[in-house]
Structure formats: C-alpha cells, structure tokens
C-alpha cells in the first residue's frame, strides 16, 4: 500500500488534472426549463468544469431561480454555489464558437443550436400524470418512495436532488462519450437524458423484483438490515450468511449463530427478532465502539453521521475531501486521479 502511494505521488501532476481542457460547453436555460431538469443541467456542467472543460453558464434574462433556493449562507444559496463551481458566467448575448457543446433542458434552445452537439435533459417522458414532474413525484413514479416505506411508516423520499444529480452525472458521461465517438469518426448526435429514466435505472432491483413477481420486495417488506439505536445515536449494520458467527461474537449472543438464521430467507422471516436482539447490544455502546468492534470482526457497519460530524471524520479529513473554506465546506470531486482530486476548489460565478 505504501509503495502504491509513493509510486502514485511520483506520477501525479503538480496541479489538478484537466482532461477536458480542450472542450467548450455552454449551459443554457429557457422558458421550457423545469425546476427538476435545470438542476440536472447545472450538475452536468459542474462535472465538466471539474474535469477542466470551459463551461459557460448563460444566466437567463429573468435570473436563475436556484439563486433563491436553500440552504443559504450569508444570503447566498449554497446550492447555487455548489452547482456552479468553476463555471464562467455570460449573458444571453454571448456568442458560442462552432465547436461548443450545448447542455440544456429547454427544447427551444436545443432546436436553435446550430450543430448536433447538444445534450438535452428532460424531467420525464411526458406520459405521466398531469402536473410538472418534480424530484418528489418522479421518485414516487419510479418506485423509489417505496424503498424507505415500512409497515409502520410513511413512504420517504431520498433527500436533496438525488435524481437531478444522477441525471446530470449520466448526461456528463454521455457528453464525453459523444466526444470520444466523434474523435473515432462518428458524427455527434443529440443526446437525451430523462430524469425519470435515471430514476428507474437507479431503482433497477425494484423493477427486477416486479417483473419476477417478488411483490414482497417493497413496501412494508421484511428488512433485516436497518439502523439500530446506540448510546449516542444510530449505526447501520449489514450482514450475510458468512457474518452470522461474527455477529454472535460481537453481541455475545449465540442466537445469531443458530442454524435457523443461516440463510437470508430464514433471516427475513425473523427480521424483527434479529433487529431487537442486535439493538439489545448496541444500546449499551457508542457508535465509535460498535464500529471499532464490528470492523475488527469484518462485519460491515457504518455510524449514522450528520453533516457536522462528517466534517470531523478522520477519513474525510485525511483525504481532504471537503474544501477548507471556513464559510462553506463544499465537498470536492469524490475521487483521486493519480493522487490528486480533479477540479479546482473554485467558487461559483458572482
């Protein structure tokens, strides 16, 4: 491991990698933009900027509504700032060069673009129920609200802008794939990314359960993996056949090593009993104690951390994942490229 780190540091460039430095991208919105798809466009552009592309963000004449979306710091939208790190701001009079790729969710802007180098984001496929698709209703439509439902609780959404961000990430991948294809001799063709498609794609195991008739996979399903209360919060513990003996050692309870819990179907039937028995142990310990002991026995575990606790986490700090900005700890690009994170720790356009 130490050799690898040493070797990689020898390989590393002195500055952040900018593999897309030759690409020019314009981000444009319009009357056809929706709240859901405009976030996806902005997130796709954010990725391109992080990898060194010149990303020009064309501020709509009426302003960008995301500037008024929470959370805020000193009156600025942190969401806006997070989405627009590293971009160049221009007004609608800006003229793009011929080789610029358009990222947009506005059909009119896409139609008016002079080349086929266009990536279009869509909120949905237009065949759903009336009303504008939102992050929330799209999660519902794709079965994602079913994931966090239970016999004794209401369906819950994924927080934030998970679908818009996922769609933005897919759009960015598609954009670069198009450039690679173009380099290989294929003409660039317009790319379409639907947030609804992404929602279904992310939730593929639910769809698979549906088509194979496993109707018990969803709402109010028996789930033996859950969060467990401990002395100072919660932990999430997961386990498989091979972990049951370790779970017995961890908790000092031979129940977990019994033959009646040796397979997942057996454990699903006794999910509540299992969770109560584990919690009887976790409640007497802190998250740190549980994580340390479970990891020692190689049982997958994670402490439930809030954002402030994340910032104090030794792993996050060791890898310098959050920016050092005292006002806003933006997470950096979540990977190392030969030991360095792509993307300058840049602010958003003013």
């Amino acid at each position: 491991m130490h050799d690898k780190i040493h070797h990689t540091s020898k390989l590393a460039a002195a500055t952040a990698p900018r593999p897309l430095r030759r690409l020019k991208i314009a981000e444009q919105y319009g009357a056809g933009s929706t709240d859901l798809s405009r976030v996806a466009v902005a997130f796709a552009g954010k990725q391109a900027a992080a990898y060194g592309a010149e990303v020009v963000r064309i501020e709509p004449a009426q302003g960008d509504p995301i500037r008024a979306w929470p959370p805020f710091c000193d009156g600025r939208s942190l969401l806006f700032d997070f989405l627009n790190q590293g971009k160049i701001e221009q007004t609608e009079s800006w003229q793009a060069s011929d080789d610029t790729i358009l990222l947009t969710d506005d059909p009119m802007a896409a139609a008016a673009w002079p080349t086929h180098r266009v990536v279009r984001l869509h909120a949905g496929d237009g065949a759903g129920n009336p009303g504008v698709a939102t992050e929330f209703t799209t999660q519902a439509r794709a079965g994602l609200l079913d994931i966090f439902a239970g016999a004794d609780r209401r369906p819950q959404p994924l927080p934030g802008h998970q679908l818009a961000y996922s769609a933005g990430m897919a759009a960015f991948a598609a954009l670069v794939a198009g450039c690679l294809g173009e380099r290989g001799g294929s003409a660039y063709q317009p790319i379409d990314v639907s947030v609804l498609d992404i929602a279904l794609w992310v939730n593929w195991k639910h769809y698979l359960a549906a088509i194979t008739g496993d109707k018990a996979a969803g709402l109010a399903r028996a789930e033996e993996w859950t969060t467990l209360r401990c002395r100072d919060g919660y932990v999430a513990l997961t386990f498989q056949d091979k972990d049951m003996a370790s779970l017995a050692i961890l908790t000092g309870n031979p129940f977990f090593d019994s033959p009646e819990l040796s397979t997942r179907p057996q454990r699903k039937k006794k999910a509540n009993e299992i969770n109560s028995a584990i919690e009887a142990w976790t409640q007497g310990h802190t998250r740190a104690e549980i994580v340390r002991e479970a990891q020692r026995l190689r049982v997958p575990v994670g402490a439930v951390l809030n954002m402030s606790e994340l910032a104090e986490d030794a792993q996050i700090q060791a890898r310098q994942f959050f920016s050092s900005d005292a006002k806003a700890r933006f997470p950096k690009t979540p990977l190392m490229w030969n030991g360095i994170r792509p993307g300058a720790d840049a602010g958003a356009p003013q």
Binding site: A68, F136, P155, Q162, A177, W201, H206, Y207, K327
Partner: protein, 399 residues
C-alpha cells in the same frame, strides 16, 4: 454517434455486484470489449446470492448478474496459480482499462495492483472503486452500500416519523447505483486525455460519492444554526422549494405523492376542496388537512383533483405496482432485453433518439475462456487444453 464510442477499447473487468460490474457494463454498452474476469474460488457474489439454488449450473442463473453484466465476455481463471496470474497480466498488457471494486489492498495482494499492472501496461487506465478510498485511516473498512448511506450523511436526512434514520437495504443500496455513474464519467475523461506511457489510477471512494451527492447540505454544516436550517430544508422534501411535498393515503390504501409548488396552487386546491384558503402552518398540519379531506377518495380521484388544480401528483409505485407500469416504461432507456429475451438494464440515455441495444447477453462463467486464451493471447489449442486440464481456466466454480 451510435453506441460505439469505445470501439477498439478493451476492458479487463474485475468488477463485482453493482458498483464495479455496473461500471464496466456501461463501458460495454458504449462499444468496448469488456472481459469480466472471475476465478473458480471467487465468482461474482450476485451469482451466489441470487442464483437459483439447486439448479444444475446455479452460478449462471442470477437475474441480477444478467442485469449488470450485459454485453460482456467472461474469463474464469485461477489467479492463485502463477500461470493464471501471468495470463491476466498478459491480457492487461493488451488492454486499455481495468475496473475493480475489491476492498482497498486486495488487488495488490493478488499481484494485480496499479503498480504491477502499470508496469506491464504503461498506458493503463485503472479505476479502483472502494468503500472509502485507497488511503486514510478507514481505507480497510468493510462496508455495504447501506452502511455508506449512514457514514456518508444520507441516512441522517431520511428519517421515520419517530426520528429513526433509514437505510435503503437490499432493495436499493443506493450508493452502489450512483458510484457507477461517477466511475464511468472519470474513466471516459481519462480516455479523452489519454497519452502514451502516462498511466492513470482513479481511486474512487463510494462514501465520498454518497456525500458529494449531498454537497449543498455538506456546505451548510459549518455551524449548528446551519444544521438547523439544513434539517428544515430536508424536512420540506426533496427538489425545488415547495409549499408541500407529502404522501397522502387514499381510500383504496394507495399512497399518492403530491408536490404543491406555491401558494397560488394551494389556493386553487383549497377552493376546489372547500377548505379554508389560508395556508395551515407547517407541512405536517397541511398534510393532515389534505388527508382528512381526501382519505375517503380513491387514488385516481385524488390524482384528478390535484392535477386539475395544478398540483403535481403521482401514485407511489411499489414493487407490486411497477409490474402494471411495464407498458408505460417499455420505451424507457432504463431497461431493455438481451438477445436471449431476458430483461436487463439499459444505458440511461439516448443517442440520436435511439436507446442502446444489447448485442450480447451476460456471459456464463468462463464462456470466453477459449476466445481469450487462443485468440487474444495466442496460445495453441494444445496449450489451451493443458490449461483446462490444470484447472487454470475453467467454467465451474470450486466451492
């Protein structure tokens, strides 16, 4: 462009389950030749967890494996035998990309770490997807997608009415799904800027990806005051600011998800339902008012009512009701069928209005042993047969 952007690119794929296997599947969807490498002692866990028990070739029966390994080839080689490891080194030498998602350090111990592989292929792009990244005090942690939901900050923002943070569990393992999009993006960027004798190692932390997707909340965490604001924002529901994002239970025991974007929409709904026009304070009270009025109506009726007033509403689809939606989603790029007629994941975008077509069903274990050993590595038939006899290559797992 069609789906041949990566034509001529070869990927050696040690990816398993979703995070790794899903990454290389997308590279295969884009035209790369992806050779999934498994060993007789260690096959993709999806084959073990979700195969049909007691089937003759149980390891080739997993639908989950089929979903995440479309368009690939398969080599089953014993890496514990020196000659097996040498064959894989030789394969990497004639390839462009390696994808793996073992625990940090495992590939090094197998003799397949970045240093070893870059030594045989100085232009290699290697993507290592791990729990928390290859460096740092927790690099060796064992995790699942759902434990990373906890340690990545996601669970703290998804809570039951009693305040219990929630994880997605087997049904989703959310971080596994999104990390593959991140990994593919980075790999494509590395290909775009590829230069001879400049190997690239992408060290991708699944936990960091999880937190990155909550970037605005992370940024807002510098003080307790911001934590409070963040929690309030999260409680208001996902997506753009709205008067309400809530689920309502209808008379037919179906949940409806509704977004009321602004006060004007609320006023129209209040008027239609003959409710007081002033907005009840707080999402919980507003939800209660709506549910009190609508709980005797069927889901279809409620949908029509809300839609007529400009509200956004959808039925909360479940594993049971997704089945009925098959026809609606037939045109979705999310899913497709392989040449054998099996349902598989698609590539989640369209190019030139066409969705990606799968040209090769997920391969059985060792299906392409002969192709790799004879055609790619140039061994004779006699040499191939010897490798089979020695158990260096096989199409049967050893339990």
């Amino acid at each position: 462009m069609s789906y041949d952007s990566l034509k001529g690119i070869r990927v050696v794929d040690f990816g398993i389950i979703t995070a790794g296997a899903g990454t290389s599947a997308m590279l295969a969807d884009l035209g790369a030749e992806v050779i999934k490498v498994e060993g007789p002692q260690y096959i993709d866990p999806f084959r073990v967890w979700t195969g049909v028990a007691n089937a003759e070739k149980w390891w080739d029966t997993s639908a989950q494996y089929a979903f995440t390994n479309r368009n690939k080839r398969n080599l089953c080689v014993d890496l514990k035998q020196r000659i097996g490891l040498e064959l894989v080194h030789e394969l990497v030498a004639s390839s462009d990309i390696v994808v793996e998602n073992f625990r940090a350090g495992v590939m090094d111990r197998l003799g397949l770490g970045f240093d070893a592989l870059a030594a045989v292929n100085p232009s290699l792009i290697m993507a290592s997807i791990s729990s928390q990244g290859a460096t740092g005090p927790y690099a060796q942690s064992v995790s699942f997608g759902s434990t990373l939901e906890a340690s990545g900050g996601l669970s703290a923002l998804i809570r039951s009415e009693s305040g219990q943070p929630l994880i997605s569990g087997h049904a989703l393992n959310y971080p596994d799904q999104i990390v593959s999009l991140t990994a593919v993006s980075a790999i494509l960027c590395a290909l775009f800027d590829r230069a001879p004798d400049k190997p690239v190692w992408l060290d991708i932390s699944q936990r960091e990806v999880t937190s990155y997707m909550l970037g605005e909340y992370v940024a807002a965490s510098r003080s307790r005051a911001f934590d409070k604001e963040r929690d309030d924002a999260a409680a208001a529901g996902p997506g753009a600011p709205a008067i309400l994002n809530a689920v309502l239970r209808c008379a037919d025991d179906v949940w409806i998800a509704v977004t009321i974007a602004d006060e004007k929409t609320w006023e129209r709904i209040a008027s239609r339902l003959q409710l007081q026009p002033h907005l009840p304070p707080g999402a919980a009270r507003l939800t209660a008012v709506l549910e009190d009025k609508l709980h005797t109506q069927t889901a279809d009726t409620v949908l029509r009512l809300l839609a007529a007033c400009g509200g956004s509403a959808e039925i909360v689809r479940t594993a049971a009701t997704l089945v009925g939606a098959e026809e609606e989603f037939a045109e979705s790029a999310a899913f497709t069928v392989d040449p054998e007629g099996g349902a598989v994941k698609g590539l989640p975008w369209r190019c030139g209005a066409a969705a990606m077509a799968v040209h090769r069903a997920a391969p059985p274990l060792g299906a392409d042993n002969q192709y790799v050993i004879r055609e790619l590595l140039g061994r004779s038939e006699a040499q191939y047969q010897a490798l089979l006899e020695q158990g260096v290559v096989t199409s049967t797992p050893r339990k």
